[in-house]
Symmetry: C2
Subunit: 259 residues, 2 copies
């Protein structure tokens, strides 16, 4: 039997030690450890890209065996919240400085793999329209930031994005900040606003280009485009971004893997 937890205790209702767990609403120890680790990430104590304590260290802190910590970390690594590197340690996942930039962008070129150029079209404070507010669990009229931008491949526009973010979470966000930044927006969101996207849901449709989209994407009006509506979530399954992308799929495609 291990010693009592060194620092942080497991005070979740009716648990603590597995022996105390009875049938209804049973939560295994490793799930509680996972929740504690997530809390550290959420609070910003362990930031994106940083090294977290070793498994042995965590095991001592939480008063459990290494194997239990391991299972918790395993799950989080599988969900892309943490990254394990043998011999080095475990790191908090990040959308910046990653080999695969644009982790959430599934658009692939038919040939080659050229980098995408970004072009900011607009960035302004807005009041939330009803539909946007509903998706983000906010109220109609709440302050928001709307960003519009274009992604191009070898000069040819490919993606037109319309992005909505809660105003209170992204206080200093401006066109200047966005233009200064290199790499994907999600990297900037992490470092500048402490908002880390961990998963997203997309609804994909085929639509006809309207006049404005057609002009920006340089396709004929009525041309078929991929409409990709993305709802992104941070820790605690909180929706923090609604994004509507129009993808020109003449020389690119949306890649998906099914299991």
């Amino acid at each position: 039997m291990p010693a009592a937890p060194a620092t942080t205790l497991l005070n979740a209702p009716e648990v603590g030690r597995p022996e105390a767990a009875t049938s209804p609403s049973f939560s295994p120890l490793y799930a509680q450890i996972k929740a504690l680790i997530i809390a550290k990430l959420q609070s910003g104590e362990w930031k994106a890209g940083e090294l977290i304590p070793s498994e042995l260290d965590l095991a001592k802190r939480f008063g459990v065996s290494q194997g239990t910590v391991r299972k918790a970390v395993d799950e989080m690594a599988a969900e892309n919240m943490l990254v394990r590197r043998q011999g080095r340690g475990t790191f908090v996942a990040t959308h910046a400085e990653q080999k695969v930039q644009y982790r959430f962008l599934r658009l692939m070129p038919d040939q080659g793999s050229e980098a995408l150029e970004r072009q900011l079209l607009d960035c302004r404070r807005q009041r939330a329209p009803a539909a946007i507010a509903r998706a983000l669990q906010m109220r109609t009229g709440d302050p928001m930031v709307e960003v519009r931008r274009l992604l191009s491949s070898k000069g040819a526009p490919v993606v037109l994005d319309d992005i909505w973010l809660p105003g209170d979470l992204f206080k200093g966000l401006s066109a200047e900040r966005l233009n200064l930044h290199r790499g994907p927006f999600y990297g900037l969101f992490e470092t500048e606003f402490g908002v880390h996207m961990i998963r997203a849901e997309e609804k994909i449709r085929a639509v006809a280009a309207d006049a404005e989209s057609a002009a920006l994407l340089q396709v004929p009006v009525g041309a078929p485009l991929l409409s990709v509506e993305r709802l992104s979530f941070t820790y605690g399954d909180k929706a923090v971004e609604l994004r509507r992308g129009l993808y020109s799929t003449a020389s690119h495609f949306y890649r998906n893997e099914l299991n």
Copy 2:
């Protein structure tokens, strides 16, 4: 130190016992166990939907600890090749008799969740066109089966599929067989032909409906449709199906989850 394996030995090159493993091309024991289990599935010794031996049983057979078998099965369950059911055992995953039918179909209705009606349009033996053959790693002109079918929701056509299968794997496949069968094709492929799809890759584009597709899907010519090109794989990452679907996304959408 455990006793020598009871029946099947681990004869993989330069391994067998982890102690014998040296740096280059190191393969952990559980990965070898996993390969052995996959071999059982591939050979048809354990069929889709069936119960496989218990972890303790497998551990004895393979001469390893339960934990090692567990890790192998864990991975396979994560990849949807096996399904664990506490208290009952571990089963071979199947596309038939599953709560979620159409495991690979990501199309969702905007409202409700009505079942889809199938309508077979065509089923005939063909010679492989160059493009199809290439994707399936066959030769142009090889015998194939082409199936065309329509899926409808509440009478309204939603999906038009054009399916290509290797002729040698699907010998007795005919319109009659397909019409007799209930549920997804992949279920029939398992029971009748022993072909089990374990994963797939999709390339998605927005396209304009041509005359024929428009008529079948009851949309105007030129209407935007989702083109979903799916390449499906069996055990050993062997491509065994190429499918081109046209989805009408007026009242449905393609749902995807990003991690």
